[in-house]
Symmetry: C2
Subunit: 442 residues, 2 copies
């Protein structure tokens, strides 16, 4: 499923292009008491707005209202005047709280009528699960007269579109899995047609570790101009300690989009170089597992001060259940060394040496190809030291860094750096490139 | 800091009570391109709305607009007509994008003027960090004439309040740490005064594992009525696999609030009984660490199929860095037994026996007081088996459960059940109480 919504290239072909306005004004109305009261964090909104931006459309206005008739009527009325396209999310369920169809019909000045085909689909949905459709669900097949049906292959709430005043309204279900699917498959193509923007869009993503957003922004000055005829846009999304660099491209055909994207993507790859940890929907840890698997190698982990996150990340990515040999986690470096059978004779004040000892220890104990140790020491407020070691049969490599900011930043940054060092070792890259989050010796 | 915002009882004393309306209509306007475009998930909104509900106030309308003058003017105008109180979040920064003060002054029909005292505070803020205030920041001390200053002890963006039409507008900073502090300390007391609601409020929270929201809702029917003179409200927040049951109470004095809360809280404790895993801002894992610490005991963990989450949760809660002795995580049960020195002679198809063997093995290997093993087997689509064992010097206890739903639900549910079983063992409770998420034998 994940792949589906994050795939590198989404091609949307339009049958017709009818320009509605120079810049289509889009509003998103989120409905429901759970969202209005803050009980549910509104991730549907951010998902939809982000996806729109990725295809070159912008949201102008966001509205949140509860399951309340008067508020819905007012919200639909206001949106119909200030927007060209309105996405309404939620309120399509089977209960009396769910008012979207009713208020849509009222606002459009039409009645509701039964959509027979959808009622049959709901009944089939229940039958396939060995249950009888509760009578309530019939309500989900009542659509405003003259509305356009929008399919929902993964739930019982279908979508629909209808004009209210001069705006086109798109009604969508509130269940995250359902709206994500419907948004990509049904809503975005309709919005692109409506906006008359170029018909094929593509998104390419570069995940990097070690470079801050403003630094990358500087480094990539001018790359957009490398696209013949333009139409490639650069964007960033920082989720510390990784940064996502995105390229959005548009064109009339797939070949044109690829031709526009290619020189820009090449420049991004060259400039970010060894800092790129994954592309598109791949992750750093999945890449590590794939690389180890291709060498018939495996890895064992020893960690302290990391909240066990190195092992958690890797074991979750181990789809073969054989690449991640073992993880040993302890609260303290002393506890970790003891677990690995390393005696008290080690000088624990020398944490760099302890990391090497732990990486060797866990590799040998597990009989693994690689041992990775990550020790994070956040004893000092406002900064944290990170000690990383990677051991293999013939060599061991280590890296230390002082992260500035909070203990949490050091911990999270240290875990990422540990995984990144393993990636660098496997790729034959240096582990010594400085990262923006560490204190540099001047 | 965390304690500050989640403390069980927040007492807010009002100097005066001026009723503004039977039910105050509150609107939240979130501003900023990052929130509008979905780049930032709007957690400020949900935080504010939830805190309002916790003190008995409701949000009627939510608006999101970008850093755009025309949108801000329109949003302030609409809100001033439909709400009694409006909270505007964001747009108080030093850059030209930040328009909140300017548009507030325009909407209120007044000029901006320098707030000398705040300018001095900003300068002192920079001086204390060994830096000189950039000239831009002067803008943050420009407030609309006649507005009420609102302090921000943790940042350079002060808040302010001003009337626009018949609504009271409260302007607040967008930085999460700053708005959280200002909201509790400054905004909520002002809103309570404005609403004329009773002056002292309290919140009590019960975290449970194993009971679904609708089940608890049924079990607690009528408990609100146990409060003398009412004024105690029951609420829920489900975050699978835990459920949070909340009691909100209001009154004129602290003593009155406590008297109202006490019989209701007692009934909740009795009815949820052994399913309660923590109270208020405590967590299950912190409770386990405190209990083990009080017995001078420690624990070692062995886990497979859990993504290492049992160890991660416990080690993160081990503030003494000595109660969590060791965690061993593997991708497979075979790998786990091998890491614990248990030979291949074990019958791995008998996962219940493997769990006991793993719990014993890790306890003995670590020399710990308790060994906890959690094995999750999600081989079958749509369900997952969970095997838990707890070993101590004199006994071992085990528990198995089949979780229904996705593999992810089984994994997350199994991790929680593992921690909960340890809590039950330490508290002398049975580990066999059925949970709502498992398949029951009929």
């Amino acid at each position: 499923m994940r792949k589906r919504y994050e795939s590198a290239t989404i091609a949307l072909l339009c049958e017709a292009q009818q320009a509605r306005s120079i810049r289509m004004r889009i509003e998103i109305i989120c409905t429901g008491d759970e969202v209005l009261s803050g009980k549910t964090i509104n991730t549907n909104y951010s998902h939809m707005a982000r996806r729109l931006q990725e295809v070159g459309l912008d949201v102008l206005w966001g509205t949140t209202v509860g399951d309340d008739r008067a508020s819905l009527v007012e919200a639909f009325g206001l949106a119909s005047k200030r927007a060209d396209a309105v996405i309404v999310n939620g309120g399509l369920g089977p209960t009396v709280d769910d008012l979207s169809q009713e208020v849509a019909a009222q606002a459009a000045g039409v009645e509701l009528e039964l959509h027979e085909a959808w009622l049959e689909r709901i009944q089939a949905f229940y039958t396939a699960r060995g249950r009888v459709m509760p009578p309530n669900n019939r309500k989900q097949a009542m659509l405003p007269v003259g509305s356009e049906f929008i399919d929902n292959p993964v739930g019982t709430a279908c979508g629909f579109a209808i004009d209210i005043a001069t705006a086109r309204f798109f009604f969508t279900p509130g269940v995250p899995r359902e709206i994500k699917r419907m948004f990509d498959d049904e809503i975005i193509p309709r919005l692109l047609r409506l906006s008359g923007t170029q018909a094929v869009v593509a998104l390419q993503r570069f995940h990097s570790f070690g470079l801050g957003e403003s630094r990358v922004d500087d480094m990539l000055q001018g790359v957009e101009a490398l696209a013949p005829e333009g139409e490639v846009k650069l964007g960033f999304q920082a989720h510390y300690p990784q940064l996502e660099t995105k390229l959005f491209a548009r064109g009339d055909t797939q070949a044109q989009v690829e031709a526009r994207l290619e020189p820009v993507a090449r420049a991004v790859r060259e400039k970010l170089g060894a800092y790129i940890v994954a592309l598109d929907s791949d992750t750093l840890e999945a890449g590590l597992m794939a690389e180890l698997s291709s060498r018939a190698a495996n890895v064992a982990i020893a960690e302290a001060g990391t909240h066990g996150a190195v092992g958690s990340r890797l074991v979750a990515a181990d789809t073969e259940a054989s690449i991640f040999a073992r993880g040993v986690v302890a609260s303290s470096v002393g506890g970790l060394l003891q677990a690995l059978g390393e005696r008290e004779t080690k000088d624990q004040s020398n944490l760099a040496a302890c990391a090497i000892s732990a990486a060797n220890g866990v590799r040998v104990q597990a009989g693994a190809s690689y041992g990775l140790a990550v020790l994070v020491d956040v004893a000092q407020a406002g900064s944290g030291w990170v000690y990383i070691a990677i051991s293999s049969v013939d060599s061991s490599i280590s890296r230390a860094a002082c992260f500035v900011g909070s203990a949490e930043r050091a911990r999270v940054g240290g875990v990422e750096m540990g995984l990144d060092c393993l990636r660098r070792v496997l790729a034959g890259l240096s582990v010594d490139d400085l990262v923006d989050f560490e204190k540099h010796n001047t």
